[in-house]
Symmetry: C2
Subunit: 390 residues, 2 copies
DNA sequence: CCGCACCTGGACAACGTTGTCAGGTGTAGG
DNA sequence: CCTACACCTGACAACGTTGTCCAGGTGCGG
């Protein structure tokens, strides 16, 4: 962790000061509680009805401009039927008071919030960045705001977050499910909250889904390894609770079966993507007797792939690797990492388009959109089996 | 792009179907408009006062439970003064109707939204993932929801987004500024919207800032190259409009001056981080006569670094490189990329802590928190100058 | 058996905005 | 000069919730 922290009154810094000032002096402080600290404290002790800083309302603007309340509303919403002169007076009052419309009140009156919620599993996972961005772009094109949060793979937290968004009356939801039971969403969906699931299908309810072809992608990836002569191939994936994990495992088994290859007991490892676990699993299936040690590994997602790359980097003999999910710089490693790529941005864009089409009234039964994956050979998947080839 | 898309009624898929079904059949469709499509259309044509799906209100719950409105409110808010029996009746009615409190109305009444806004420049930039996540964790610990969006480095869009968040009456804002004039925020801040800037200071207003020591970090990074024998060092950075870009450039100049080294004209390139531009800039300063070609490059942020790594990977002679910002897999490249690391998560956590301390009533002048950077030698910065060493 | 204190439950107003509708002004035509 | 019409403008209610306040009921003691 980067520990040193310095604080100073901003006045001490007379602007970005282009002169090389005494920028070096710092005081060391506890990073875990940098500023005056706060965390534990109780809620702010201000008078219960603080009304923030007494923001001006339309009523205030109307009084100042000497017009009626509704006229201010008309100006603010660019409705027709206001004399230029009146409008000018109103605008002056708005600027003078620093008025900004209270969207909470507006929402309450109008019924729609022009905002959608996005719940994903980890905001810090690079896979979700482009997805997040794509959803935001679509939302923006529709004049909607995006509210998002991450479930940290915790079903309870997912539910908590989703229901909080519903309480905010988002118009629609895009959810990357962490749990496998979404019946709690039924009343919300019945009440008109459009919902699209991404990456994985909803559990125990019927709902729109946009996902990649995990099964086919994994099958193709494993077949690629088989085509390069491998017969003993390991699979390291995410927890079996997660739909994509089991789909990809299914693809692995299908590819092995297609080639008439047996799958030994120690070749499949499902579980958390924590680096320690993945590292242990990889090392276990790379060791063992010559008949059991794998000559190639298929990894179930980008987190797993990165960890396995680290494991392989420390070994003498190269071992073939194909990973599900592309990742930045995969092409610059030695060897480049062969991957089954899914397009996160398209996933997000497609889901958002579908969501807004529902919001615009598109009816019909829930649909399932499945996006093709793409095998990207870069070297690591083309390493032939060195030893143990029978 | 991954083009192939298939759609089918979800009913056709009798569950994750563990049997290897005909998952292969797909129809090719235009990815840019996948579902029934929507985009251009006008707003939904439903009756103006659709009230979504006529969600039940507290009034409905009260009627069904045979109690008063306020009693329902008491139950929902876990206030005291309700008989267990009454509470049970109310809860049954809530479950039966699928009632969920309308937070818009609640916000309107109470004045605080328990939500904060985060505006960053690119949701897809991996640098912001951990920052985003850290802010979310702090917000969650304070019972607040996080609303975020990205400005795409566009000052107008930043302002638009920030003001939209203010209209939603977020309690506080964390902003990574794209623009250099934030006076538009003055009325909002005066009205009580706590605001903390991250990564870069606010423009033309005084406000809290949490940022890394760009100047010192860049100076240390360039000094590292000088210590390894380089005398002709290039600098490729972001647009000069961006504060961190100029600070890092300042650090570069300081380090060069410290060592008494001149800076030739073609050695500094500021501008967009678009790969084409960076690539051109890098190639230009690597070519040229022996006296002018640089033997080392310092890159101003992670986007630039990645592009330069690509350029260097295609060259015969290794060229030394130190980059600002750490990035995943930097250690696994050949050679490992030496970086000046800043801790995005701490940046976010610190900013969020500061924000909530302001919301909890902490007064005082705006503060500036500066986090130390850390030089991480990995190889690329330790390459000695091959040619042209005088 | 009566009275008092306490406690539960409900009526009501208010938050800031927008839709409805009626009133008022100015202008043009008869 | 009066009527009619168009166009602005503003009063009012309602959105769903919470804070205030009061009424009614219960339990206990006198």
């Amino acid at each position: 962790m980067l520990g040193a922290v310095s604080r100073r009154d901003v006045r001490d810094t007379p602007r970005p000061a282009p002169t090389p000032t005494t920028e070096g002096q710092r005081t060391v402080a506890d990073t875990t509680a940098p500023p005056p600290s706060v965390s534990g404290g109780s809620r702010r002790p201000v008078p219960p009805q603080s009304r923030y800083g007494n923001r001006p309302t339309m009523k205030d603007v109307a009084a100042r401009a000497g017009v009626g309340l509704k006229t201010v509303s008309r100006v603010v919403n660019a409705e027709s039927g206001v004399t230029p002169d009146t409008e000018r007076r109103v605008r002056e009052a708005i600027d003078a008071l620093g008025f900004r419309r209270n969207d909470s009140a507006r929402v309450l009156r109008k019924g729609r919030t022009a905002s959608i919620g996005l719940v994903l599993e980890d905001l810090a996972d690079p896979f979700y960045g482009p997805l997040n961005r794509a959803v935001e772009e679509v939302a923006r094109a529709h004049g909607a705001l995006l509210i998002n949060g991450s479930s940290a793979e915790d079903p309870d937290r997912e539910q908590e977050l989703v229901l909080a968004l519903c309480a905010r009356r988002v118009d629609g939801l895009i959810v990357i499910p962490a749990g496998d039971d979404h019946r709690y969403l039924e009343p919300e969906m019945a009440a008109g909250v459009a919902t699209v699931f991404v990456d994985r299908p909803a559990g125990r309810i019927e709902a729109d889904v946009v996902r990649s072809d995990s099964f086919g992608g994994a099958r193709a990836g494993v077949a690629h390894l088989i085509a390069h002569g491998h017969r003993r191939i390991g699979f390291i994936g995410d927890q079996p609770r997660i739909h994509t994990a089991t789909e990809r495992l299914r693809g692995y088994h299908a590819a092995m079966a297609d080639a008439g290859l047996p799958v030994a007991e120690g070749w499949v490892a499902l579980g958390s993507t924590a680096p320690e676990r993945v590292r242990a699993a990889a090392e276990a299936m790379l060791e063992g007797t010559a008949d059991e040690a794998v000559t190639a590994v298929f990894t179930g997602n980008n987190r797993v792939t990165v960890t396995v790359v680290r494991v392989l980097a420390g070994r003498e003999h190269p071992v073939a690797l194909v990973g599900f999910d592309d990742f930045e710089l995969a092409d610059l490693l030695h060897p480049g990492v062969t991957v089954v790529a899914q397009d996160a941005a398209t996933l997000g864009r497609t889901a958002a388009d579908l969501l807004f089409s529902r919001l615009d009234g598109a009816g019909g039964a829930p649909v399932q959109v499945v996006l093709e994956t793409r095998l990207v050979p870069r070297g690591s998947g083309e390493i032939p089996p060195e030893r143990g080839r029978e």
